[in-house]
């Protein structure tokens, strides 16, 4: 009836069919026969195939395991393929010709570079070692790190040591006279580690970049006039715009460019020299506030547009930070004694030397009063330089040229170019302006529990991240931060300048209403009257003259 005959012992379902009960009944009356039926069913499944040697039980088990492991979507639709895959997998050797490559993590490369720092350079003999131990420009980074650590400031010891070795590498490559670890500036993708360096005198590399563009002011106008005389075409009038004179940057070795800075992203990576800073860059850097990305060639997109890329912006910020926060205990540096002290040096003195008779003040004194510290870097004027320069002063060459052309510039300086005067070098910190009701510096001893060995620590409030310490005869400055000045007000970007006037408005071009017909007629009538009156007078005069002549 059902198409399934009486089940043979080897077929599944055997024993499930009991006379009187259909095989679809849930309950088999005799439990013993149920277990027997199950065993028979399982034995049937475990029977190995004659052709392939597999058995259905294992195959089903493998297939279900694979499905549960991988959880494919719509498993029921691809079950046949899965079954085929499982069977196929039997014939694949476990050993694959394709093996997974060991993952080369980027960390391994970085570790390689860092390890390279610790290897001694080839060819270093014993003689050189002895020379180095004598006087070396290499700063003792670990010692400085120790003092700053007492105040809770500084990088981990590992990183400090790596920087130490990286500085050593820098010194061995470049002809450097003094070197200092300036600090670390954080960036978005990578950070910057900065070294402040002074070259040996006379060994500085020459600039490969071209010098700043010469002033275009007077020459530009002169050329334009010549051209106009030559061509008499109908061209739109050339603009008479003269860009404000470009203020030249300070010479390398003076002012804001006194030190040369090298940066690298991580100790182990090569050091890159930063270009010298120009006043235009400093003036613009004061107006913008951007994060550093970590790549020196990244453009700085801002308003007002920054003249340069990230390397220039970084250099400008370093210059500002140094000018604002490099300090030393009073008395450590003194001005070099000059024979002729009556000479007034323009712009203040810019060199100092160490004072051999320096007597350090106690830590308590260094912390209590800010006048125990002085700035030892020249401050940057509004102009962007440390020494003020009159941009309208002509050099000799330009004066000759100007005699040929007519100079149009006024002799008086516009207001923004008035002479800027900054505080002279070695001014005490108590003269620093505070922000709102906050002093410019916060001074603390490193510990209150052990005052005998405490270190005096200063934090700058104007440039958060700038720190200085002093302990006995040792002192140093350092910067860890993002490279921005603190401002209690939100940063307001400069507004674009007002639209320039195209032409001066005067009576020649102001529109006036056309006179109406009545006004014209009235005017005409008035004019005729005046003419008639004038003729009568002339006639009278003529008659009088005739009369006179007659007499």
């Amino acid at each position: 009836e059902r198409g399934h005959g009486p089940y043979q012992p080897h077929e599944p379902g055997y024993g499930l069919y009991q006379p009187g009960y259909s095989p679809y009944d849930d309950q088999i009356p005799d439990p013993k026969s149920r277990t027997l039926a199950i065993q028979n069913a399982k034995a049937y499944l475990l029977k190995s195939s004659t052709t392939s040697g597999l058995n259905l039980y294992d195959h089903l088990a493998n297939m279900l395991t694979k499905i549960l492991d991988e959880q494919p979507r719509n498993a029921v639709d691809i079950i046949e393929n899965i079954s085929k895959d499982v069977k196929w997998a039997h014939f694949q050797k476990k050993m694959d010709t394709l093996r997974d490559e060991h993952e080369i993590l980027p960390t391994f490369e970085a570790a390689e570079k860092r390890k390279a720092l610790f290897l001694k350079a080839n060819g270093e003999g014993d003689e050189e070692l002895e020379e180095e131990i004598g006087e070396t420009p290499l700063p003792n980074v670990m010692e400085t790190a120790f003092y700053f650590e007492q105040a809770g400031i500084g990088l981990s010891k590992d990183e400090s040591y790596h920087i130490f070795l990286a500085l050593k590498k820098l010194i061995s490559v470049q002809p450097i006279q003094t070197c200092r670890f300036w600090g670390k500036i954080l960036g978005l993708e990578m950070n910057y580690i900065i070294a402040e360096v002074q070259y040996h005198e006379g060994e500085e590399e020459e600039e490969t970049e071209e010098e700043a563009v010469t002033e275009e002011g007077g020459k530009g106008v002169g050329e334009v006039e010549d051209e106009e005389e030559e061509k008499e075409k109908d061209e739109p009038p050339k603009s008479t715009y003269k860009p404000p004179p470009v203020i030249p940057k300070e010479e390398n070795g003076t002012g804001a460019n006194k030190y040369v800075y090298f940066v690298c992203n991580e100790p182990g990576k090569p050091w890159v020299k930063l270009p010298p800073v120009t006043p235009a860059q400093i003036v613009c850097a004061r107006k913008i506030k951007k994060f550093f990305t970590g790549r020196l060639d990244a453009p700085v997109v801002s308003f007002p547009p920054f003249p340069g890329n990230e390397a220039n912006y970084l250099r400008a910020q370093i210059a500002r930070i140094s000018a604002g926060t490099q300090i030393s205990p009073i008395g450590f540096y003194q001005f070099a004694e000059e024979e002729d002290e009556e000479e007034e040096v323009e712009g203040g003195r810019d060199t100092y030397e160490e004072n051999p008779d320096f007597q350090p003040l106690s830590v308590a004194e260094m912390v209590d009063s800010l006048s125990a510290w002085v700035h030892n870097v020249q401050s940057i004027l509004k102009q962007g330089r440390c020494v003020w320069l009159n941009p309208l002063q002509k050099t000799e060459e330009e004066e000759e040229n100007e005699e040929e052309e007519k100079a149009e510039e006024p002799d008086e300086l516009p207001q923004e170019l008035q002479q800027g005067i900054g505080p002279p070098l070695l001014t005490p910190l108590s003269e620093d302006e505070g922000i709102q009701n906050m002093p410019a510096w916060t001074a603390q001893p490193s510990t209150n529990l052990i005052p005998q060995y405490a270190v005096a620590v200063l934090q700058s409030n104007r440039w958060p991240g700038a720190y200085a310490f002093a302990s006995g005869k040792k002192f140093d400055n350092i910067y860890f931060g993002w490279g921005h000045k603190y401002s209690p007000e939100n940063h307001a970007p400069a507004l674009p300048p007002p639209v320039q006037a195209e032409y001066p408005s005067g009576p020649e071009i102001t529109e006036m209403r056309d006179p109406t017909v009545e006004e014209e007629l009235a005017f005409k009538a008035a004019r005729e009257e005046a003419l008639a009156a004038a003729e009568e007078e002339e006639d009278e005069e003529g008659a009088e003259e005739d009369e006179e002549e007659d007499d």
Partner: protein, 275 residues
């Protein structure tokens, strides 16, 4: 960061230059343990340090059995004596949002508002007193804001039990290096805001036991987190640009992670201009 892993963790976040002096490190080891005993916390976290003009506040947080419950916060001026801070209220947060400038370093300092609005004028009329805010309240509000905005944990570090409470995931073995570089592997450890806005399709892929918080991917403004590999690529350090000074570290493939704040306690509102 966990009080127990403080020494190692401080080494890992020192890339920003901020840290603790050996004296503070030494005393924190013991004083945080004593905090745990006195207040019966299950976990004590060293939250960080807010630098004021004259002094600094060191903050610790204590967690109970449910790690996502509001935490008790304590502050100290010298890491030895700790005082419990009052729980935060919404009013405190709005008031603190109107104050500008640095913290002073004195908990009883009273700020006077420079800007007055209509509410203040009304209150002045009634009370006859000028509205002021104590620095302590401002401290509480600031810590709450920072935790809410930028307190983060790696994905999978905490699990939500079916009863609703949150506890550490003992099976968390750390994120892999590729996962650790992605912002979507980190969550804000606070009440989720964006979770319910996700489409059903996205929610289907989430695992409700570990993905119950907002990830950092959709933070506004985009780019307000920097992800860097430090120490030759062995530590992943996330720094927040919205609250400058918050640093999160994680060593991939290990259980070490944590965040700490060393800063002024001021929000960086210039962020959109600076990116």
């Amino acid at each position: 960061m966990e009080a127990s892993s403080l020494p190692a963790a401080l080494e890992l976040v020192a890339g920003g230059g901020a840290g603790l002096s050996p004296e503070k490190r030494a005393v924190l080891g013991s004083s945080l343990l004593l905090l745990q005993r006195d207040y019966r916390f299950e976990r004590v976290w060293f939250w960080g340090c807010i630098q004021g003009v004259c002094g600094a506040y060191y903050i610790a947080e204590g967690l109970g059995p449910d790690r996502a419950a509001p935490r008790s916060r304590l502050y100290s001026l010298n890491c030895v004596e700790w005082s419990l801070l009052p729980p935060v209220t919404k009013e405190m947060v709005t008031q603190a949002g109107r104050l500008k400038g640095r913290f002073q370093g004195d908990p009883s300092f009273e700020y006077e508002y420079t800007e007055r609005n209509a509410e203040d004028a009304e209150r002045l009329f009634e009370d006859g007193k000028e509205p002021t805010m104590k620095e302590e309240a401002r401290l509480v509000a600031t810590i709450e804001q920072i935790d809410r905005a930028v307190g983060i944990i790696p994905r999978g570090a905490f699990v939500k039990t079916p009863l609703g409470s949150v506890s550490e995931n003992r099976n968390f073995e750390g994120l892999s290096l590729t996962e650790a570089k992605r912002l979507s592997s980190y969550f804000h450890f606070t009440e989720p805001v964006n979770l319910k806005n996700k489409t059903l399709l996205e929610k289907a892929d989430l695992d409700p036991s570990t993905d119950f918080l907002d990830s950092l991917e959709h933070d506004i403004p985009q780019g307000s987190w920097t992800v860097q590999l430090e120490k030759g690529g062995t530590v992943v350090v996330l720094r927040s640009l919205l609250w400058l000074g918050l640093t999160f570290y994680h060593v991939p493939m290990t259980k070490q992670y944590g965040y700490v704040y060393f800063g002024n306690g001021e929000k960086n509102l210039d962020l959109p201009f600076m990116l």
